[in-house]
């Protein structure tokens, strides 16, 4: 057990903190209020290597691994959750499948653009009727000569209309005898080359309003057979493997948001009074802050454990879900308690705490709801018993 980050990671963390505070945090409120997609910031993140945390250096990535990504992106999340989710999805759900499952030819064509952030990525699994029950997805990919032709509707797609590339999950076995997960395959779709990709309007959301969330409609989208990721019929396994990484990313997002809210409160209580008494002298305040700090540290330890396991290619399905479950739950608690602690100032639009509360709520919903995390963990627990 080593709880100390390496010199290299500490340096990365310090750099990320500085960039996040100086460049990312200042516009966060404006991006929320006016629903501005963070193009400029993504460029900065690309320059820093944060769009290709998991991409080998030969393709222009920074290759800092899941642990490095977690450490760096917590700083981004603490500054702006909208920017964070865009970067996190790009890393976990686009660059990872490119690196792990794409052919050498696809890698050569796309990985440099992915690693630099020039071409943004989206992950197209969820459908209007297939949320938690992802394996029931209806999108089809039918062989036609050298191509697959994809048809279907996707929903809640992060970065969808800003992306050049998508990882699309579709049913390749239309024979009713092959059902569920085994009928699903994964494809890289180049939205510009393939044609047939259109987008719904941006969803009006409770939070992370600077990020883009859209429906994506796939109509006779033609992709070369070489764009199949991994083996045919293994798409669902790929989807789940990617989500294991993605869940560490969302855990980190929740921790970043919760930390920002906590630090905001910690910075304010010194100058606030209630009923004529400094807030720092109140045990109610002291104990709440102590609880928040403890929970945030515990959540971070869970997330970093999962990241290290993933970097070491060790089993981490349960650990990734535990990190996401715990971090998202406690971060939302922290955000709500900060609002309550600060009184009316906490819930006013012109403060930071109410935005953080709104941004945070989605962490219990996407990349598997809280319920799905519990199902995953319970399934692993029973499997461990049998082993």
């Amino acid at each position: 057990m080593d709880f100390q980050l390496s010199e290299e990671l500490l340096q990365l963390q310090a750099e990320a903190k500085q960039v996040a505070e100086e460049l990312i945090a200042p516009g966060a409120r404006d991006r929320d209020e006016n629903k501005v997609f963070p193009h400029d910031l993504l460029k900065i993140c690309g320059d820093k290597g944060w769009m290709g945390c998991l991409v080998p250096k030969e393709f222009g990535g920074s290759d800092i691994g899941n642990l490095g990504q977690a450490v760096v992106l917590e700083e981004v999340a603490a500054a702006c959750a909208s920017t964070h989710v865009t970067v996190s999805v790009h890393n976990s759900l686009m660059s990872t499948p490119m690196k792990k499952y794409a052919s050498a030819e696809l890698q050569a064509k796309y990985l440099p653009q992915v690693a630099s952030g020039a071409w943004l990525g989206a992950y197209l699994l969820t459908e209007p009727g297939a949320g938690s029950d992802a394996a029931s997805l209806k999108t089809t990919a039918v062989e036609d000569g050298d191509s697959f032709v994809i048809n279907g509707d996707k929903m809640w797609i992060t970065t969808g209309d800003e992306a050049r590339l998508g990882i699309v999950f579709a049913r390749t076995e239309l024979d009713e005898s092959i059902r569920g997960p085994k009928a699903i395959s994964a494809f890289v779709v180049d939205f510009e080359e393939s044609g047939g990709v259109t987008f719904g309007k941006r969803e009006p959301k409770l939070g992370i309003r600077g990020s883009s969330t859209v429906a994506v409609f796939l109509k006779d989208v033609r992709v070369p057979k070489g764009n199949l990721l991994g083996e045919r019929g293994r798409g669902f396994n790929i989807a789940m493997d990617l989500l294991n990484g993605g869940r560490i990313g969302i855990a980190i997002q929740a921790i970043g948001i919760g930390r920002a809210s906590f630090e905001h409160a910690l910075g304010l209580v010194g100058s606030l009074e209630r009923a004529g008494k400094p807030m720092t002298k109140s045990q109610i305040v002291q104990f709440r802050l102590a609880d928040m700090a403890t929970r945030l540290d515990a959540a971070r330890l869970l997330a970093l454990r999962a990241a290290v396991l993933r970097d070491n290619n060790e089993p981490h399905i349960k650990e990734a879900s535990m990190a996401k479950l715990y971090a998202s739950t406690i971060a939302n608690q922290v955000c709500r308690e900060v609002c309550e602690l600060l009184g009316d100032a906490g819930i006013r639009d012109d403060g930071i705490a109410e935005r953080l509360l709104r941004d945070c709520r989605v962490s219990e919903l996407y990349e598997g709801t809280t319920e799905v995390q519990k199902l995953v963990i319970a399934k692993q627990l029973f499997a461990d018993c049998e082993a």
């Binding site: 969803e203 959301k205 209630r274 709500r336 219990e364 919903l365």
Partner: protein, 373 residues
């Protein structure tokens, strides 16, 4: 089928106003709620309609210019309105409990009353000065020599109000005054919207040597402690009603969604985990409604209920928060979309704990009640 929490059955009068309010809430308000939240204001026509229906002064006697129903009728109406729109219910409570009731009780014939009760102008209570404690101790604003100086924050609806009810130190006690916000020396120094209850601003009012007169008084000089207690208890009960309505609305909406939404080849309402989420609204609503009715009947019978009102408000607001959080979760991704009502219920509920001094204060006060004197 959800059972009633109303036992014994409502009186004829109570049933009359409830029928009127339930009809109004279902037929008109529900369809407007999303737009009111989104635009952050209650349409003028709706405000006029509610004034004409007598909804601004339900529990005030007809002699005093009100609708002449009891407090129980009033809070049950608030709960029904909150079920349709939290911010409209809060607006009514703001006019009734935080403005008209103290005027009717302590300053019969005050010139602000008729204008506000008829819907001709809005009133607002300017009381809090620090991080939000609802007590006389935090009040620094001074009215000595009938000159008002100081600052009030978190004024609910302070931006749109024409009349303000201000609590200030006068000599050794606290006094209340109601006067026009445009009086010389009164400034709206800050105003913004909130996370929830978006039709009501959160405003800061600054007073610089504002000239007061005895005509402005609500109660006698130094009567403030009694007025504060009156405002506090009734306010806590009104908030209980609003919390109950929001918890109920969130649960009903989520239950409807869970019945329609299919995953894993069945309606998600069939899953135990979803039922657990749905039940928290039933728990919150049930507990809130029985506490609400106990409190309101005590108020109607003239029995002090300041302790039970605190129990009610803490129970109802924390219950509503849990119920709305669970309801949002039932919706999954759709819960985060502003095209569904779950996120509105959640935002409103997140604010409830803050009003009237916050639950931490109420909890401290409740602990005092079991300590030996």
């Amino acid at each position: 089928m959800k059972s009633t929490y109303f036992y014994p059955a409502p009186s004829e009068d109570q049933q009359m106003i409830l029928d009127l309010v339930v009809g109004f809430a279902k037929d008109e308000l529900t369809s407007l709620a999303e737009a009111i939240d989104h635009q952050g204001e209650i349409p003028q026509a709706l405000q006029e309609q509610m004034a004409e229906m007598g909804l601004l002064a339900i529990p005030i006697s007809e002699d005093n210019g009100g609708a002449g129903f009891d407090f129980t009728s009033y809070v049950l109406s608030l709960a029904e309105i909150a079920k349709a729109s939290g911010t409209v219910a809060m607006h009514l409570a703001n006019q009734t409990t935080f403005f008209l009731e103290p005027l009717a009780q302590f300053a019969t014939g005050h010139r602000a009353f008729d204008e506000v009760a008829s819907g001709g102008a809005l009133g607002a209570l300017a009381l809090l000065e620090d991080a939000g404690s609802f007590s006389g101790e935090g009040i620094q604003t001074s009215a000595d020599g009938l000159k008002l100086s100081g600052q009030k924050s978190g004024v609910l609806g302070g931006e749109d109000a024409k009349w303000i009810l201000v609590g200030a130190k006068e000599g050794d006690g606290i006094s209340f005054f109601a006067f026009e916000k445009d009086r010389a020396g009164t400034y709206l120094s800050e105003t913004s919207k909130r996370l929830g209850f978006r039709s009501l601003s959160s405003s800061t009012l600054t007073f610089e040597n504002v000239t007061l007169s005895d005509e402005d008084r609500v109660g006698q000089a130094g009567d403030g402690a009694a007025i504060l207690a009156f405002l506090h208890t009734r306010g806590l009960v009104a908030l209980t009603a609003i919390a109950a309505g929001i918890a109920d609305a969130a649960g009903e909406a989520a239950a409807q969604y869970a019945t329609e939404r299919k995953q894993f080849r069945r309606a998600i309402s069939e899953f135990e985990a979803i039922k657990q989420r749905l039940a928290s609204s039933v728990l919150a609503h049930g507990a809130s409604m029985s506490l609400l009715l106990s409190c309101s009947r005590m108020i109607d019978d003239g029995i002090p209920c300041d302790q039970l009102a605190r129990v009610a408000k803490v129970t109802a607001t924390s219950g509503a928060l849990e119920a709305t959080d669970d309801a949002l979760q039932v919706y999954g991704g759709y819960g985060f979309s502003q095209e569904y009502p779950a996120e509105r219920f959640y935002r409103d509920a997140c604010c409830l704990g803050v009003f009237l001094g916050g639950n931490d204060d109420s909890i401290q006060e409740l602990a005092m009640t079991i300590l030996p004197q």
